[in-house]
């Protein structure tokens, strides 16, 4: 692929310029330190994935098409978008109504209009989410690590007391919870790289503070009692043992985290009211706030999800138009606020924020237009009822994503979809392996990173395929 740049290409192109620029006092360290290291220099330290679980229609959000207002008896095939478009800060780029705040910060990132999700037979949420988060099609013959687990494994925690892979907002007790568990896993990378789960961001502190009902003093004396008994226990005579040692170490680490000032980052009540209110559109908005606070303290990878629950959230099998008004209200100001806050504090420079969904939606097309799959919903040809007005079918060939910070171009639009149904990607299609490799590239994780599992190499992306999309990086 033409966008691929390896380290040497990069150096070759820049070395002459670098030598020239040195005369002007430009720093040299980047060039020198990258020599001989096996990894690319990184442009990002942290990643926040804001996941629009359930299938966010591109035509109703970041890639609006011709608006046809509702009227009784309208033909379904007339409808491309059910909202009018509004301008954004970028010339000629429009968003769907309700996303004005995000429109205002698009100068800080890149809008991707050409993400093509895989076609995995029936278009099913949990399978596509599995694919989105692991880059592998389910099922696999080994437990495949989540994107966050790879990052946790390769980069480790940024701050030793903050778990490197945090997952905010998803409960596993709702429908298809078992399917969700299947990919919220570190798999063969080992449980220490697994997700630290915070289903409810307002209760984030509960996960990192002493047990409920135990004050700090008691917590500390309990720990001291433990330490005293450990050193008095005769099993110490048996000498070193990795399981014993790892238990002691982990207990110590847990104690440090639960007692550390950083743990306050998990406590949203510490946030000034003004700022809290800006984010507070509900669980998702507060999840964004928690993500911001954690990144400030040195989190490595965070997912904040609108939460997947069948037929809720973005999973609009009916009332698409009505429900999307609420969904946009839920995400518009927190996402914009998160980007602005990170930008203002300078954190955006090294923090990559991604807004994405497992696939898009359309009113008529289910799956890829050329591949017939089982219908998920009934859509009448003539719309009489408002509940049928909206994007209710699963659509893969044209989804929108936003990316900000951590080396991503500012004020850029990547890719394009057709203006006529089925509004498929017509320029710069980008697939999940490229998205993953772009994230790894920004973090400085080599594209051919792999582990031998059952004697076979297992790569971050299947067979190591997919190239970082340099067109997204500034």
């Amino acid at each position: 692929m033409k966008y691929q740049v390896n380290r040497r290409d990069f150096l070759k192109k820049t070395s002459a310029a670098a030598i020239a620029s040195m005369a002007m006092g430009a720093p040299m360290s980047g060039l020198l330190s990258s020599c001989g290291t096996p990894q690319m220099p990184s442009t990002a330290d942290s990643v926040i994935l804001l996941f629009m679980a359930g299938g966010m229609a591109h035509t109703e959000t970041f890639d609006p098409k011709k608006f046809t207002p509702f009227r009784k008896g309208m033909e379904a095939k007339e409808v491309l978008s059910t909202f009018p478009s509004v301008p954004t800060i970028l010339d000629g780029v429009h968003f769907s109504e309700g996303l004005e705040s995000i429109g205002k910060i698009m100068d800080k990132g890149t809008l991707i209009r050409s993400y093509v999700a895989a076609d995995l037979g029936f278009i099913l949420h949990t399978r596509h989410q599995y694919h989105f988060h692991t880059c592998y099609e389910p099922p696999q013959s080994v437990v495949v690590p989540h994107l966050g687990a790879w990052i946790a494994k390769e980069k480790g925690p940024l701050n030793p007391v903050i778990p490197p892979f945090i997952n905010i907002g998803q409960r596993f007790t709702v429908g298809e919870g078992e399917e969700l568990k299947a990919f919220h896993s570190a798999g063969f990378l080992g449980s220490e790289n697994g997700p630290f789960l915070i289903p409810d961001p307002t209760a984030g502190l509960d996960s990192v503070r002493p047990p409920i009902g135990m004050d700090t003093k008691r917590f500390e004396s309990r720990n001291k009692l433990y330490q005293d008994l450990v050193s008095a226990s005769p099993i110490g005579e048996f000498g070193s043992d990795y399981q014993k040692e790892s238990l002691k170490q982990s207990m110590e680490q847990a104690y440090i985290l639960l007692n550390s000032p950083e743990a306050k980052a998990f406590d949203l009540s510490q946030e000034p009211k003004e700022s809290y209110d800006k984010y507070n559109t509900g669980k998702f908005g507060l999840g964004c706030l928690l993500a911001k606070r954690l990144v400030d303290q040195g989190a490595r990878y965070i997912t904040v999800t609108t939460e997947y629950e069948p037929f809720f959230g973005w999973d609009t099998h009916d009332n698409g138009n009505t429900r999307l008004k609420d969904m946009k209200k839920m995400i518009d100001s927190p996402i914009a606020q998160l980007i602005s806050d990170l930008d203002a504090s300078g954190k955006l420079e090294r923090t990559m924020v991604i807004v994405a969904s497992e696939f898009s939606r359309d009113m008529l097309t289910e799956g890829r237009p050329d591949l017939k799959v089982q219908d998920q919903v009934q859509v009448p040809d003539i719309i009489e009822d408002m509940k049928n007005y909206g994007m209710h079918r699963h659509f893969t060939n044209g989804c929108s994503m936003l990316m900000f910070g951590g080396g991503i171009k500012r004020g850029h639009v990547f890719g394009k979809t057709a203006d006529e149904r089925p509004c498929v990607t017509i320029e710069n299609p980008i697939k999940i392996a490229s998205i993953h490799q772009t994230v790894y590239h920004a973090l400085g994780i080599a594209p051919d990173k792999n582990y031998k599992i059952e004697k076979r190499p297992f790569y971050t992306t299947p067979d190591g395929h997919g190239k970082a999309e340099i067109g997204l990086l500034g």
Partner: protein
């Protein structure tokens, strides 16, 4: 008055001569003008240029030393330009610049005459030439300043000098990377997280001298075996049935001699004309080097290939049958037991004793009653002994009390079944909730499994019923039917083939179900033929997800085990498969199961990993003997457990392991039972039994109590193996049973420690237990004694009593008791099975 050091006229002239010479070299270094000679790789170069080129590696040291030294001295003159160092600096710059130009020119010659290319070279060349030119500029500036007193140019001069010094370093680094390899520096850094496990070094096994003499059929066969081993380990990844890059395959004779995209790869008898030899000898990073990814071949591997080609590349036809991977014997083998010696009657001990003698190892000391009782309780029924049981055992004076109690535990059928259910649930990926159930794409086999374990169903029958199932046992081979379109290599028939191979036969077929394996001899066709047994209609073979148009045959992996009637229906095929696999002639199946049980009891298999039974066991005799003994005595798993747990090998002190890698290392030596951590289920059940139930009976997904005959008591609290998976058990290592899992990650992690430290479930149970204990044991000393007795089966030491006293006070609150519980339960002494 300052002294001016001006270069003598001659030197000045040199400044102009050098560039002229440079250009002369460049212009005249043309094959058309010069006398030609043949260089090593066939390109023509005038010998003198070639010679001068080879001087490059020597000459390069001059500019590096002189220019950097000049830059260093320049630092000392920052305050005063006309320092006493000035003349020295000027001389250094002069020599440095001249030698830099020479180095650049020689380097250019070297690159051309030795045909070196590649991106790293380009980089080295560009930065090198730029640096040489810069050094010339520095020299001119330095001369001008001294001569014309242009102090306003001092800053420019100094910047250029420093940049040149940097440039020289960068060039030098790239140059060194060319000669030593790019990872020369970084490969030894501790934080260079090179993930690849070092492959077993095969080069050490190559004995070249064996082939120096005239080859005979036997040595030819051996030689080709080693050559194929080198090819397999280094080349198959890209050049075999699995993946064919450059249209070249190296996995079979005809392909090797046919060559690839760029023609023949070897000329029998002439290594120097053989492309493969040229390529494996190129330096890392070169465009043509092979392997292009990963490690280069070792010297002895290269020499072996050269020797083979120089001997005419013999490839006798029988060679294809000769495996390059270790393949374990299929047939059973019953070695003759070593003669019994004093104090040893258990056959396991006789074999272990032999092993210890051969390896100069000593027996560990025998464990005391307390440790033994705790061990067999945890290993046989998954519980810690109660205080009453412990007392009864310690008061038992019968000399055979250990085996009596062991048998007693094995007879506690339901407790035994509940404990071993966990092991089998993991292995057969049987769970109560999980992917697949919501769409009827998965079937639970718990009832069949529980009953089979409880009744100690003979293992051959157990396997038969799994493979040729009834409604209640069909879940294992039915697999998980995912919704949507799944990969060909994950369709349920192939899942069944993979899982039966892995769990029942200790064989990895995952590779071969997508393409010909490059980790074993198994071929795609064979994997499909095996999968076809599980299919309703004949499967079409897919290679790497592409249908091949070929229909699969129907065969068991080993011909020796018999045929399957390909025309039969599925039920009949499965019946035949079950019959063929369980026959005693299938030694592999019985080695696999005894090895698994051994691992459960002893902490590490005789072969590891337990799913790769082709690996070398630490004692072939012990493994073979146990397997045959198992088959000859009714396929009785309880009997096997008894045999192991009553041996001295089991009753010896446990051995600690410093790192998890040690367990799977090739040079692993068995020294005794490996100490390990309790499983999630063992820990939970211990807490539930001693303190307060961790799980509510509503969480139970299988209730054996309801199956019990009247009058028999079931477990008094919901045991962990019977409840649905939950975050607590997950954190402690219970796997998500979507794929087969035959060993658990037993290392602690932060997430686990957090769950134990502030997780609601454990803290709630400890709180409830504390309230209960407070009422029963108002006296803190008594409470301490009780807890130590129940949890650790010993009295607290004086020191421990003091610590407990300080923590509990005279009249402990339930909170204090709760914290005391917590501290004791998290002691490694409690958490380890030792």
């Amino acid at each position: 008055m300052q002294r001016r050091i001006l270069l003598p006229f001659k030197t000045k002239k040199l400044l102009f001569v050098v560039p002229v010479v440079v250009f002369a070299f460049l212009v005249f270094n043309s094959p058309a003008l010069a006398q030609e000679t043949i260089s090593s790789d066939g390109e023509t170069t005038f010998w003198l240029w070639h010679f001068l080129g080879r001087l490059h590696p020597m000459v390069v040291h001059f500019p590096i030393a002189f220019l950097i030294f000049a830059a260093i001295l320049e630092f000392f003159t920052l305050k005063k330009f006309d320092s006493k160092f000035r003349p020295a600096i000027q001389l250094l710059v002069l020599i440095g610049a001249v030698s830099a130009i020479m180095a650049a020119v020689f380097g250019w010659l070297l690159a051309n005459s030795d045909s070196i290319e590649g991106e790293l070279l380009d980089l080295h060349q560009q930065v090198g030439i730029a640096t040489a030119v810069l050094s010339l500029l520095v020299l001119l500036l330095s001369q001008r300043i001294s001569k014309e007193q242009k102090s306003n140019q001092v800053l420019v001069y100094r910047s250029f000098l420093f940049i040149t010094a940097l440039g020289v370093s960068v060039t030098g680094h790239f140059g060194a990377s060319l000669t030593h390899g790019e990872d020369f520096l970084t490969e030894i850094l501790p934080f260079n997280g090179s993930s690849e496990q070092p492959e077993e070094s095969i080069s050490s096994q190559i004995n070249l001298s064996a082939y120096q003499a005239e080859l005979n059929p036997e040595t030819e066969m051996k030689l080709i075996g080693e050559v194929r081993m080198v090819l397999a380990h280094n080349c198959y990844k890209c050049h075999s049935g699995a993946k064919i890059e450059g249209e070249l395959r190296l996995d079979e004779k005809e392909f090797v001699f046919a060559g690839g995209e760029s023609g023949k790869i070897l000329v029998p008898g002439d290594p120097s004309k053989s492309e493969i030899i040229r390529r494996i000898n190129l330096r890392k990073g070169h465009e043509d080097v092979m392997p292009s990814k990963g490690k280069l071949l070792t010297d002895s591997e290269k020499q072996l290939l050269e020797l083979w080609i120089s001997k005419g590349a013999p490839w006798p036809d029988g060679a294809a049958q000769q495996s390059i991977y270790r393949v374990a014997e299929l047939a059973p083998r019953k070695p003759v037991l070593p003669r019994a010696t004093a104090g040893m009657s258990n056959p396991i001990d006789l074999w272990v004793n032999e092993y210890f003698k051969e390896n100069n190892l000593d027996w560990q000391a025998k464990i005391d009653d307390r440790t033994y009782l705790r061990r067999i309780y945890l290993d046989v029924i998954g519980l810690v002994p109660t205080t009453e049981e412990f007392l009864a055992f310690s008061q038992d004076t019968r000399p055979e009390k250990r085996t009596i109690w062991l048998q007693k535990l094995l007879n506690r059928n339901d407790d035994y079944a509940i404990h071993w259910l966990t092991f089998w649930n993991d292995a057969l990926r049987n769970d109560y909730t999980g992917t697949g159930y919501i769409t009827n794409g998965r079937f639970n086999i718990t009832d069949w499994l529980y009953t089979s374990i409880r009744d100690n169903k003979p293992y051959d029958q157990f396997v038969k019923q799994l493979l040729s199932p009834n409604e209640k046992s069909k879940g294992f081979i039915e697999g998980i039917r995912w919704r949507g379109t799944v990969n060909a290599s994950q369709r349920t028939e192939v899942q069944a083939a993979q899982n039966v191979a892995q769990v029942i036969l200790g064989l990895n077929l995952k590779c071969a179900s997508c393409h010909d394996s490059f980790i074993s001899d198994w071929k795609l066709e064979e994997a499909y033929a095996f999968a076809n047994i599980f299919a309703d209609s004949t499967l079409e073979v897919s290679r790497c997800e592409q249908p091949t148009g070929t229909l699969a045959k129907t065969k068991i992996l080993w011909e020796e085990l018999g045929d399957i009637d390909s025309a039969a229906n599925r039920a009949e095929k499965l019946r035949q498969l079950a019959d063929r696999l369980v026959q005693p002639a299938n030694g592999r199946m019985y080695r696999t199961i005894v090895n698994r049980i051994w691992k459960q009891m002893m902490g590490r298999g005789i072969v590891e990993p337990v799913d790769e039974m082709d690996n070398l066991p630490w004692s072939q005799d012990l493994l073979d003997w146990l397997a045959v003994d198992f088959a000859e005595n009714g396929y009785d798993i309880k009997r096997l457990i008894f045999q192991i747990a009553s041996s001295n090998s089991y009753q010896s002190q446990s051995v600690s392991i410093k790192s998890a890698d040690q367990l799977i290392a090739d040079d692993f030596q068995f020294k005794g039972l490996i100490r390990r951590r309790m499983t999630a289920e063992q820990f939970s059940d211990a807490v539930s039994q001693m303190i307060y139930p961790l799980f509510d009976s509503k969480e139970m997904k299988y209730k054996p109590n309801e199956l019990l005959a009247e009058g028999i008591k079931g477990p008094s609290f919901p045991r962990a193996s019977l409840v649905a998976n939950n975050p607590f058990l997950t954190a402690l290592g219970r796997p998500n049973r979507e794929i087969v899992s035959t060993s658990r990650d037993s290392q602690a992690s932060l997430l686990q420690a957090l769950e134990l430290t502030n997780g609601e479930r454990l803290n709630a149970a400890l709180h409830n237990g504390a309230v209960k204990w407070k009422a029963i044991y108002p006296n803190p000393d008594q409470l301490t004694q009780q807890l130590y007795q129940k949890a650790l089966h010993r009295k607290p030491s004086l020191k421990e009593q003091e610590i407990a006293k300080a923590a509990l006070g005279k009249n402990p609150s339930s909170a204090q008791i709760q914290d005391f519980f917590w501290a004791v339960l998290l002691l490694p002494e409690f958490q380890m099975v030792y």
